[in-house]
């Protein structure tokens, strides 16, 4: 009896020792680093703190989605960088998903040529480092574009030049009403879909939801144009002569080449991984599922929509989430071609000016951690929604 008790205590102690040692080692490393940091900062006459965020930044940023100039604060500069990072990530995720789905489905095509072309696309773009692809687009491909005076014109409304892509600017009146109408339409579609699902599951009635949804999405916003005073006009870019040899475009929106190169490289690179996920997902749905669906009389579209896709999505979503996360993190390579993302603006210029390495690097890393965690929380929620609901 006594011996047994001793043995249990012995085990407890045996478990405790490695844990205590690990914690102790970790703590001593942290304390060592912290004291060193304190001494170093003391020597250089800087004190730890985030007050510098309110100081005037006095540097310019080439591309900003919100109002910014040198007189704004470092905090504002951080926000500009963050928004630019989010912008390029969203664009990249959007195009990578479309391209990835197309390539993934093409790899399963019964057309031999299409399947081979898709396979080689994946093999080529997956095995070249992303940074090289960014360099290629930015330093080699986009530099081959013409100067503004003979830019490639798309019907004279949009121009592609070495200095960027000039597109028309949207000028809205009463944009809020339009936005509200879109939201209203989306809510209506949501309720329509849940109603249709109920009808289908309880009474076996089929409601053509796709057509009705599309109609709602077009008709309600159209209504605001006709009756509620919403209107949209465009401001087209126009060629302007600055000096006898220098031309530029005035008006419209200029998409800088850094953004184009980064978005192109990110989406083409990530698309290869998404394509592999899509392929694995569709292959992962058993043949029996399709045959069973066909045998109860579903047509080809219904099989894809009701049987194959819901199951394939379950396999596709988790690894694709990872790819979205990777894309967001990879957007930090922007610093290599001077696209003003958070790394370049904040961990680059702001750090050089203030010398506050610890604060700035921690803020940058924490920002990325937050971005990563929020994407994974959102995708986990979506994944749960798509997961098997056992009844």
């Amino acid at each position: 009896m006594n011996l047994k008790k001793l043995n249990i205590e012995n085990k407890k102690i045996r478990n405790l020792i490695p844990q205590a040692l690990t914690v102790l080692a970790l703590l001593s490393v942290i304390i060592y680093f912290a004291t060193n940091a304190q001494i170093n900062m003391g020597n250089r006459g800087i004190s730890f703190g985030f007050g510098f965020l309110n100081q005037e930044a006095s540097f310019d940023i080439t591309f900003s989605m919100i109002e910014y100039d040198g007189s704004h604060s470092y905090g504002r500069a951080f926000l500009v960088g963050l928004l630019n990072t989010i912008l390029v990530s969203v664009i990249g995720i959007f195009f990578a998903t479309i391209l990835g789905v197309i390539v993934g489905i093409s790899r399963l095509s019964d057309n031999y040529l299409i399947a081979k072309v898709a396979e080689w696309y994946v093999e080529i773009f997956r095995n070249i480092p992303l940074i090289l692809q960014i360099f290629f687009w930015y330093f080699a491909a986009l530099r081959a574009l013409p100067l503004p005076e003979n830019g490639i014109s798309f019907n004279d409304i949009s121009f592609l030049t070495i200095k960027g892509w000039y597109v028309p600017k949207f000028i809205w009146t009463n944009f809020n009403i339009f936005l509200l109408s879109i939201i209203a339409a989306l809510i209506a579609i949501y309720f329509l879909n849940s109603y249709a699902t109920k009808q289908r599951e309880q009474f076996g009635k089929q409601i053509p939801t796709t057509i009705i949804s599309l109609a709602t999405l077009i008709l309600i916003p159209l209504f605001t144009f006709l009756f509620l005073g919403v209107s949209l006009s465009f401001e087209y870019p126009v060629l302007k002569q600055l000096s006898p040899t220098v031309f530029t475009y005035a008006g419209g929106v200029s998409i800088i080449p850094e953004l184009i190169a980064l978005a192109l490289a990110l989406s083409m690179y990530t698309a290869t991984f998404i394509a592999e996920n899509v392929r694995a997902g569709i292959l992962g749905v058993g043949k029996g599922q399709k045959e069973a669906a066909a045998s109860i009389g579903l047509n080809k579209n219904q099989i894809l929509k009701l049987v194959v896709m819901p199951q394939a999505l379950r396999i596709i979503i988790p690894p694709t989430t990872n790819q979205y996360l990777n894309l967001t993190k990879n957007s930090s390579l922007a610093a290599a071609i001077a696209y003003p993302d958070i790394v370049l603006v904040f961990a680059g210029t702001a750090l050089m000016q203030t010398g506050r390495a610890i604060e700035i690097i921690s803020i940058t890393m924490l920002t990325y951690l937050t971005l990563s965690i929020s994407i994974s929380i959102f995708m986990n929620w979506y994944n749960k929604k798509m997961a098997i609901k056992e009844k």
Partner: protein, 417 residues
């Protein structure tokens, strides 16, 4: 009436020759247009002559689409590239695009490219200027490493290849000594040889290292160190001891949540702040530590996948034999778990190799960095395309070979159940 009947086995004799003729005509038209800049159908109105190959090819493919024709090659053709109208169109588009893109590519890469010479002025053609690569090749391989000392890098890599090569042929018993040498002795021997400073070798500071050889050095060291750290982190994350478990989770998720570039920034500007004043750790070593820890976190997640996939019975069986924690993991669990995740390990190592160019952040220049340096040289402006195509090719060959090798390894090691 008979002429517009649906293609079938009855009219195969008339339809197939006509169809094949139309398809070949459409390809011939695009081919001649692409290679000789001559439009066969130029006599037609411009809109029509533009779309004519497509229309001809489409009709041709329609005519030869005969199910169960009894001709084997025709059936194979129809099944693979011509199963319906949509597929026929896709096939035509793909082939047209391929034919159209061959001549400009061929021109740029070979026909109009310049190979001879030793300055930019020798590049007269419209194509690539491979002279650029030729002149800078030494720098692309060895960075700024002094020319006279480059035999040291060569020797280090030669020893590596020789030892690896020999170890494939020696008896199983001796193999483990070779592996021990490669893992524990060679890395330090090689680094000593390359950096010098003793045995009468001239010291070469790591800032001068560069080019493709630096890519290999960093990849090799990071792979060597990130693997054991990753395994330990994975075991830690699965540990029943809460403190160890949560420290491992925190460590792994911290590295996985941030981009490598910020980690490198950290190693460059933030890490020196954490060391006692006056201590200096070489830039290359700091970068190596950063990359190793970063990739170890990814490796840990891969290994954890393998650990989770093992049935509980394996653990119980090992314990019932009286094995302790370390013996159980080393002899029973890890060999099986690692085998399960070979593709994942290979992908992580591939990602590591592809991440090495990022060391430009701290001012080290491997292949991509050297090309960046060369293309800004005033004598060689405008060579970005050649440089990055070359670097892309080199990296592609390395990464493609690695992924192929891992696929083979996976096949070789898979034990049928």
């Amino acid at each position: 009436m008979n002429l517009i009947a649906k293609p079938s086995k009855e009219n195969i004799k008339t339809y197939v020759p006509i169809g094949l003729f139309l398809v070949s005509l459409s390809f011939l038209d695009v081919f001649i247009n692409a290679f000789f800049n001559f439009n066969l159908m130029g006599f037609l109105p411009s809109q029509l002559s533009y779309f004519l190959p497509l229309i001809l090819g489409f009709i041709g493919f329609y005519l030869i689409r005969i199910e169960f024709s009894g001709v084997r090659s025709l059936d194979v053709l129809n099944k693979n590239i011509n199963s319906n109208n949509f597929n026929a169109l896709l096939t035509l588009f793909t082939i047209f695009i391929i034919i159209k893109s061959i001549p400009p590519m061929l021109d740029w890469f070979i026909l109009e490219a310049n190979f001879a010479g030793n300055s930019k002025d020798d590049c007269t053609g419209n194509g690539a200027c491979w002279v650029f690569i030729k002149v800078w090749f030494n720098r692309f391989m060895y960075g700024l490493y002094p020319d006279a000392e480059q035999w040291r890098i060569n020797t280090a890599f030669l020893i590596l290849f020789a030892v690896v090569g020999v170890s494939f042929f020696v008896a199983e018993k001796l193999k483990k000594y070779f592996i021990l040498f490669l893992v524990f002795v060679f890395p330090f021997l090689g680094i000593k040889l390359i950096s010098g400073g003793s045995f009468g070798l001239e010291y070469v500071e790591s800032a001068a290292w560069g080019g493709l050889s630096l890519t290999f050095i960093i990849s090799a060291f990071a792979i060597l160190f990130c693997f054991p750290i990753g395994v330990i982190l994975a075991l830690g994350r699965r540990s029943s001891l809460p403190a160890i478990k949560y420290i491992s989770i925190g460590f792994i998720e911290l590295w996985r949540g941030v981009p490598l570039i910020t980690v490198l920034f950290m190693s460059a500007v933030m890490f020196p702040m954490f060391l006692p004043d006056g201590t200096f750790i070489d830039k290359l070593i700091r970068v190596l530590i950063a990359i190793t820890l970063f990739e170890a976190a990814y490796m840990a997640e891969v290994v954890r996948g393998g650990l989770q996939a093992l049935p509980k019975g394996q653990y119980e069986a090992a314990k019932s034999l009286g094995m302790g924690y370390w013996r159980m993991n080393a002899l029973i669990i890890l060999p099986q778990a690692l085998k399960l995740v070979i593709p994942g390990i290979a992908n992580t190592l591939l990602a590591l190799v592809k991440d090495t160019p990022l060391i430009f952040v701290v001012g080290l220049m491997e292949l991509a960095g050297m090309i960046g340096l060369a293309k800004t040289n005033p004598k060689w402006l405008g060579m970005a395309m050649e440089g990055y195509v070359f670097a892309g090719l080199v990296f592609w060959v390395i990464c493609y070979a690695m992924s192929r090798y891992s696929q083979n390894l996976e096949k070789k090691l898979s034990t049928e159940r």
